[in-house]
């Protein structure tokens, strides 16, 4: 016999969620500040870069073996970050540091909120829309922070933290749900497996979505600069080249795609247990399939001549839009067997 829910703890969780949101909002402000400020910092660094430019040109000719296409297509001067995303300028980015520290703080509070919700309900905290959103947002933040320890991704901080804030707002405003027990249809350990991986993959896709958008912006900026036009998107100096963005988001997308494949299979197994058939083209299944196919297309695009770069980025974006659609519109307005939204 499951224990009754702990309503007070549920309220504590909601309060923590609110605090976390506030901390994220402040972090977001600092990330934006960083982008604005860094544009200036970079102007300062630029002169140094320019002086080293001559030297680099010599060495490049010497090396010769690097992919000539990408090096040539990429004007060295205006691009400040490369694949390694190690900025090297040594410039201190105070705002960015504060922003990251705040994000860590927010994520800690957020984590406490998610965990206390789980304890309040005596189960995993992903049984309705509110919980999918808040737990998903938490994973987005955590994955972002983990990636930060390996790559300097602070340039998408405003983007990612902004999305986290939106997800939390959507949860609190759009789908407020007090702590409750699970309806029989969701009482399965497949809920733990299937939904957790789905949420984690979606979180990764969220980050690659941000990177793909930046990649498109960066591509058009690079083209502009190459054509000798003025730089109208100066904040993008802090962002790595389009190619680096593409490569990194490919790696993350690959991981997320495996996660999504697993989600799909686990969902099929669960469906088999709950409804007797592993696949029945229920609305939710249709969209899971569509998303999977779009990202499979993305992976193929990366191996197809003429489809890398911008087109692949668009596929990644379309895939993410499908995820958002699946999560919002499909959950709320389409009827189907998966009507567990709890709204």
């Amino acid at each position: 016999m499951p224990q009754p829910v702990n309503a007070e703890l549920g309220q504590v969780s909601e309060l923590l969620m609110l605090l976390a949101s506030i901390a994220y909002v402040v972090a977001f402000v600092f990330f934006v500040l960083d982008l604005v400020k860094s544009s200036k910092t970079i102007s300062a660094v630029e002169s140094r870069l320019a002086s080293e430019q001559a030297a680099s040109a010599r060495t490049l000719a010497h090396v010769g073996g690097r992919d000539p296409g990408s090096t040539a297509a990429r004007p060295a001067a205006p691009v400040t970050a490369d694949d390694s995303m190690d900025y090297g300028s040594g410039a201190r980015r105070g705002s960015a540091r504060i922003a990251v520290a705040l994000t860590v703080l927010a994520a800690l509070i957020h984590g406490a909120a998610v965990v206390s919700r789980a304890f309040a309900a005596h189960r995993v905290p992903w049984g309705n829309m509110y919980e999918f959103c808040t737990t998903g947002a938490f994973l987005v933040a955590v994955i972002f922070l983990i990636t930060l320890t390996r790559k300097d991704l602070r340039f998408i901080g405003s983007f990612v933290v902004g999305l986290v804030v939106i997800m939390l707002c959507a949860a609190t405003v759009g789908f407020p749900t007090p702590v409750s027990r699970l309806i029989p249809a969701l009482q399965s350990y497949w809920l733990v497996v299937h939904v957790s991986i789905a949420v984690a993959s979606s979180a990764l896709f969220t980050i690659t979505f941000a990177m793909s958008v930046l990649q498109l912006l960066q591509t058009s900026r690079e083209a502009k600069l190459l054509a000798g036009k003025t730089d109208t998107a100066r904040f993008l100096r802090l962002v790595p080249s389009a190619l680096s963005l593409e490569n990194l988001s490919y790696r993350l997308n690959a991981i997320a795609f495996i996660g999504w494949t697993f989600t799909l299979i686990a969902g099929a197994i669960w469906a088999e247990q709950a409804w007797g058939r592993y696949w029945g083209w229920d609305t939710k299944e249709v969209w899971t399939f569509v998303i999977w196919t779009v990202y499979a297309g993305y992976l193929h695009a990366r191996a197809t001549r003429g489809w890398t770069g911008t087109r692949a980025a668009w596929l990644s974006i379309v895939g993410y839009l499908c995820i958002v659609f699946n999560f919002t519109i499909v959950n709320m307005y389409f009827s189907g067997l998966h009507s567990y939204a709890g709204v």
């Binding site: 030297a55 990408s70 900025y87 790696r251 495996i258 399939f289 197809t304």
Partner: protein, 575 residues
């Protein structure tokens, strides 16, 4: 420069061949050209995206496969667009000609793609690693180690033996190795690892075919059916036992094993603790007595949501439940025209249920009733009855009654949950003088005009079962799992080639050069270079240093301020 080194595989050829637009002359030539086009990567991509788009309408329009009644209703409500949509098979998207065409083409393309690649892979796996390039310094990651003369003397090294030792080191690290130029003053090692990447890719794609075949077999030889059982009643697994039955195209009735299931009791628990979720269901448990066949021993089993019972080669699922009010209908002559539980179909979470009662045996006129069953009836200020709770605290029937021809006698199948009132005359209704019938348990209502009476005797629960047989579901599971594993291998294993060259130096030492090349995406190639460098240096106890490996490749400060992961990514453009 990286490109020429990639073994001929579909990846390389498909992209380039697709660009050769003009087909060779003649029929065979055209066919071959069409085949090349179909099996090209670009076509695969196009078909994949097309499949994604084609799947969408199935979520926008009701599908017959899920619920034929809703489709019929949709077409009735949209007399203009409905038939057009139907003509385009938009209510049968996943069995439609166009959807099938897309995925069949995709899978033909897939087969055409996989076969040559499997062959190429098989050859690659059996051949020796590729020949050593002339200048290792042209490879994206490379470096040099020097074994000093003293060390060479101590260990009695020759270029050949050093190459042999390097090969041993590499082999331990998982490379396939091949030592060349043994006995000469310039030996070399060709090494390769990560063939499992391509193997994984092949397993993945082949498994997709496997999944498709398993789905097809399930569709051909499987069946499923639905059955509603009221407490105390039984179901026998025969064709007539089912309420509805969907056989696969190759189904034959001797596939059905005549097992039986009796519903002894059905327990429901609703949330009574939490105000916000008061009345939300917490648990459904059906207690069954099953028998594998006539005469077989009886067995007690528990059926729950998410926990099917398997019996006689089928799986039995609990997919719904509700109330079946026990009703007695007496006709105008005072005889019992119908008696027993009548299944009411819940329309909301509070089990406000629709109920239809038919008494075709009633004399002189057939009788029909349609209305609501409310588990906990409550009347609001406007006099409208509704249910306040899913548990039967105040069960009530609210009915309209009719007499006349129920339309059951001509033998056409009739939906038991719908009363066709076209040929019936209204007796009771909230809108006519006699008013509607309202009955609590134990009450009887006498129909106007001496047409008979109706009694609400009591209440039972029922469960709705889905019964499925899919002979290929295990196969589908195996292939899906294989696909996942293959995908993991394909995306995470790096395929690398590595060469080591040893040559004698003028001062008696030995120079060891090495170079690495990635096939496809590989952001850790430089790391691998450093690691191999360290292993080799340790082997001969020479300082490994830090510079060599990255020095030449290192992108100058202005462009990149760090080596490490940077370089190899550019190889990806060669795919």
């Amino acid at each position: 420069m990286v490109k020429q080194d990639i073994a001929p595989g579909v990846k390389g050829t498909a992209g380039s061949k697709a660009d050769v637009a003009v087909p060779a002359l003649g029929f065979v030539g055209t066919l071959r050209w069409a085949w090349t086009q179909l099996t090209s990567m670009r076509t695969a991509l196009f078909l994949l995206l097309l499949l994604a788009v084609a799947a969408v309408p199935g979520s926008l329009f009701p599908q017959r496969s899920a619920n034929p009644a809703v489709v019929t209703q949709y077409i009735e409500e949209h007399p203009d667009t409905g038939p057009v949509l139907d003509w385009f098979q938009l209510f049968d998207v996943y069995s439609s000609v166009w959807f099938s065409a897309i995925y069949l083409l995709l899978f033909i393309s897939l087969i055409g793609c996989v076969i040559p690649r499997a062959r190429a892979h098989f050859r690659a796996a059996r051949s020796t690693p590729p020949r050593t390039p002339k200048r290792l310094s042209r490879l994206p990651v490379h470096g040099t180690l020097e074994i000093p003369a003293a060390e060479v003397q101590d260990a009695d090294l020759t270029p050949s033996s050093a190459a042999g030792q390097a090969a041993a080191v590499l082999k331990k690290r998982g490379y396939r190795v091949d030592v060349r130029g043994v006995g000469t003053d310039e030996a070399s090692v060709g090494a390769e690892r990560g063939l499992a990447k391509e193997l994984g890719n092949l397993v993945f794609h082949i498994s997709l075919i496997g999944v498709l075949v398993a789905v097809a077999i399930g569709g051909l030889f499987g069946y499923n059916g639905q059955k509603v059982i009221v407490e105390g009643d039984s179901f026998v697994n025969t064709l007539i036992g089912y309420d509805s039955f969907n056989p696969g195209s190759n189904f034959s009735d001797d596939q059905l094993e005549p097992y039986s299931i009796r519903l002894d009791s059905f327990d429901v628990r609703f949330d009574r603790e939490q105000e916000s979720h008061y009345g939300q269901p917490l648990d459904f448990t059906a207690n069954l007595t099953t028998q594998d066949g006539p005469g077989a021993p009886e067995e007690q089993q528990v059926l729950k949501v998410n926990a099917p019972v398997t019996i006689g080669g089928t799986s039995v699922y609990l997919v719904g439940n509700g109330y079946a009010p026990i009703v007695t209908v007496r006709d105008g002559e005072g005889d019992i025209a119908s008696q027993g539980p009548v299944v009411a179909v819940p329309s909301d979470g509070l089990y406000t249920s629709l109920i239809v009662i038919k008494a075709p045996d009633a004399q002189p006129d057939q009788l029909g009733f349609v209305g609501f069953f409310l588990p906990t009836a409550f009347v609001d200020e406007d006099g409208v009855s509704f249910s306040r709770d899913p548990d039967p605290f105040n069960p009530q029937l609210n009915l309209n009654s009719y007499y006349g021809d129920l339309g059951l006698d001509d033998g056409t199948p009739e939906n038991v949950y719908v009363l066709d009132t076209e040929n019936l005359t209204e007796l009771n209704s909230r809108n006519n003088d006699d008013g509607g019938i309202v009955l609590a348990v134990g009450q009887t209502y006498d129909l106007p005009e001496g047409k008979g009476s109706i009694t609400f005797d009591g209440l039972q629960r029922y469960i709705a079962l889905d019964i499925h047989h899919d002979p290929a579901k295990a196969a589908a599971f195996v292939f899906a799992t294989l696909a996942l594993l293959g995908l993991g291998a394909s995306l995470f294993i790096a395929r690398r080639r590595l060469w080591v060259k040893t040559s004698r130096r003028d001062d008696g030492g030995i120079r060891v050069e090495y170079g690495l090349l990635a096939r496809g995406e590989d952001h850790r190639l430089a790391d691998e270079g450093l690691r191999v460098r360290k292993l080799l240096a340790d082997r001969w106890s020479v300082p490994s240093g830090t510079g060599d490996n990255t020095e030449d490749n290192r992108v100058p400060e202005a462009v990149s301020s760090a080596g490490g992961t940077g370089q190899s990514q550019h190889n990806t453009k060669d795919n």
